[in-house]
């Protein structure tokens, strides 16, 4: 991880005209919320995700991650590798619990 020094903001938060635009579709998180989270000290993709839930919805950030990252990196003046990625986790698609529970059966080859 890149070294990031965090201290309290000295300037008040500056709203922007498109702050109400949705960025994370699943969890309905806006650009303004993301900017405010960064202002409040959330300084990595994961921290913003954990604070706001953007990237924690059904699609697991597959749609919005890049857009969230570009907002964070622009606000902080950091590069995307510096703010990190959401970790790829199993299951990569939603799986019904009963199916998960049923993990001993054969997978049938296509007919």
């Amino acid at each position: 991880m890149t070294k990031i020094v965090r201290t309290a903001a000295t300037e008040p938060f500056k709203p922007m005209p498109d702050d109400d635009m949705i960025v994370c579709r699943c969890e309905e998180i806006t650009k303004g919320e993301i900017r405010k989270a960064v202002y409040d000290g959330m300084s990595t993709t994961n921290e913003v995700k954990r604070w706001l839930r953007c990237g924690m919805g059904l699609c697991q950030g597959q749609t919005c991650q890049k857009n969230v990252q570009s907002i964070i990196s622009r606000e902080l003046g950091l590069k995307i590798p510096d703010i990190g990625q959401i970790t790829g986790r199993s299951p990569v698609r939603p799986v019904v619990m009963e199916v998960f529970a049923n993990d001993v059966l054969d997978v049938h080859e296509e007919a």
Binding site: I22, R25, C26, E27, E28, G57, L58, C59, Q62, T63, R93, P94
Partner: protein
């Protein structure tokens, strides 16, 4: 609108005509096509209303990734309609948050 004849693909292989319901209304589509495609062909754009802002959502990625097109299918919420095949007799409901319209309205009265 369905494409009757395509300059490269010709005609599309479609299965049997099937009947299903959307919020109780009778609809028709073809076996094997996705629920989302059948609804789109019938001019249905809104698949659900979101939980927080109550905004309409429909097809977005159409390949099972974005999960925007989810609906309640045979009682199951959050079913990705773009990759779920249409079947005879399916009961499809517009999803409100993660519930039916009735449950949503009862809760938000």
């Amino acid at each position: 609108m369905r494409i009757a004849q395509h300059p490269i693909l010709g005609t599309y292989e479609k299965g049997q005509k099937v009947h299903f319901t959307l919020d109780g209304q009778d609809m028709v589509g073809y076996e094997g096509e996705s629920i989302a495609a059948a609804l789109h062909a019938a001019g249905v754009m809104t698949h659900r209303y979101t939980a927080k802002q109550h905004k309409p959502r429909g097809i977005f990625c159409a390949i099972g990734r974005c999960t925007d097109c989810v609906m309640i299918v045979d009682g199951q919420p959050n079913v990705r309609t773009c990759i779920t095949e249409l079947k005879e007799g399916m009961n499809i409901q517009t999803q409100y948050g993660v519930e039916t319209k009735e449950a949503w309205e009862a809760k938000n009265k």
